[in-house]
Symmetry: C2
Subunit: 88 residues, 2 copies
């Protein structure tokens, strides 16, 4: 497992973003209203989440919509559980 994924999860704002996306697809603008950060900072965080494929991106006009990548979350979860000793 690439450590980049865990680095992406190692930030309060990014975890909040994932929490917001857990309620469904959302635009960058709406996400921004729920966080006390600037627009460039949000753009940076979204790029980090994209780079590890934790989120999907869809552009429509001037808006950018984001949604969770559930299969990636499954992948991470399975890796974590896989660390546990197999009763050997």
């Amino acid at each position: 497992m690439d450590t980049e994924i865990f680095k992406a999860l190692s930030d309060d704002n990014r975890l909040r973003i994932l929490g917001i996306l857990g309620s469904g697809e959302s635009s960058a603008c709406e996400i921004l209203k729920n966080l006390n950060i600037s627009q460039p900072t949000l753009s940076h965080h979204m790029k980090v989440l994209q780079s590890v494929e934790l989120i999907n991106v869809r552009k429509s006009g001037q808006w950018t919509y984001y949604s969770l990548n559930g299969s990636k979350l499954d992948e991470i979860s399975e890796f974590i559980i896989g660390l546990k000793p197999s009763k050997a």
Copy 2:
């Protein structure tokens, strides 16, 4: 979920350490043989893993033995899965 846990997982050497402990309890000295890092660096990493309760510690004489904390791994896995949209 505290981001400190994901920070603890955001390092190649620490992931390798967890992988080693997945095969069972191990001493710091044995872990060290499997990594190309110095003793102080290993000590640092073990402290990070302890601080987020990912590992258990047991001292015996001059040796320190480490083992995985399975329930903490469960906790992380459940958090990850909990991010997924509840089909709403």
